[in-house]
Symmetry: C2
Subunit: 204 residues, 2 copies
Amino acid sequence: MSETAGARPMRADARRNKERLLAEARVAFAARGTGASLEDIAGRCGLGIGTLYRHFPTRQALLEAVLFEQFSALAVSGRDLLHHRSAREALITWTRAFVSTTTTYRGLTATLTATLRDRTSELHASCEAMRDAGAGLLARAQRAGGIRPDIEATEFLTLISGIAWAHEQATSTDHPGQLDRLLGMVFDGLTPTGNGHSSPGKSS
Amino acid sequence: MSETAGARPMRADARRNKERLLAEARVAFAARGTGASLEDIAGRCGLGIGTLYRHFPTRQALLEAVLFEQFSALAVSGRDLLHHRSAREALITWTRAFVSTTTTYRGLTATLTATLRDRTSELHASCEAMRDAGAGLLARAQRAGGIRPDIEATEFLTLISGIAWAHEQATSTDHPGQLDRLLGMVFDGLTPTGNGHSSPGKSS
DNA sequence: GTACCATACGGAGGCAGGCTCCGATTCGCC
DNA sequence: GGCGAATCGGAGCCTGCCTCCGTATGGTAC
């Protein structure tokens, strides 16, 4: 993810600075959300804002660098969970990991959904890989009969992103077990077995 | 909602300008979200930014003025729906209206949840009235056995705010019937009758 | 009808943060 | 050690928020 292959390697000072910026960005995004001031990040490294922009031409690029491992990890864990004995449990486990990752940095949920729609973003590829991992788990759970067959991957991601967002808003303000309870209800709604009531009709 | 009772009435020019600002704000918030530039709104009225701030000392105050009727309408409709024959249907109907209102202006969902937590905000009262209307409908549906008894009003609002947010993000990008489908699934999850699966266990 | 002043207006200006551009500096190869 | 490419730094321009105060004007009292 650093230097373009084939090109001459980065100068030592540049490499050093890039690492420092990355480390500082991780801290700043966690503490102040994805909207943290970039000038502040550069300042904390003792570097000028120009240097930050040289290494990361956009906020998205910096975010991408910071989130790359986490999104990849989610993609990998998604593929691993494909071998879990219970397809439904696997999906639930992954979902919890998803929510937990996306709520690490305040504002990430919004960035994520925006990024999935913007194929020009530097973050797009990682997001997509992660989403596909989730889609695989969903499909398997549906084939196994653990999840209703009429929900689509994109829709599922939209739904759990909404939950993640809601959780992000309420963080620490409300009851601690809230996330588990919310996810529990959502998954109850995703269960294929009959329920006494019909879903709300088409809009009147 | 305008001039303080007892005080001398507003000067005619001031009243005129306030109306113009309000009208322009409605347009701007709808077009560019709740973060629309206030200088721009004033400019479109041919007024200085100082004039806008004189009438609406904060962005919240302006939003409050714009949203007051809509939130009140939601509160009123909530109270009316208390007499609907089906408690569950009433809640679903209200929820749909809630989502539809909060997605009128991009960013409103976020503003709303923030406002419910900030009792100093000018918008707080209207938000609370609306929330209480929803809570009443929820309680009734629970008593009637249409909704699981173990969800609490705040939690319910968090949940549907998440859906509203997700819908707001996806607006017009994704499939048109999506909102109904999402709400349908959520309400299936809120149904008290048995479901074959247990909710996800406590975090490992 | 005019004079007065409370009320209202306008926008300059200070602040913050994003991003660009280019002269100054430094690395590291020869 | 010297030179040129690579890198750095921050001034500067932009947008937007909000405050403050000198200027203008509506409307009332006479």
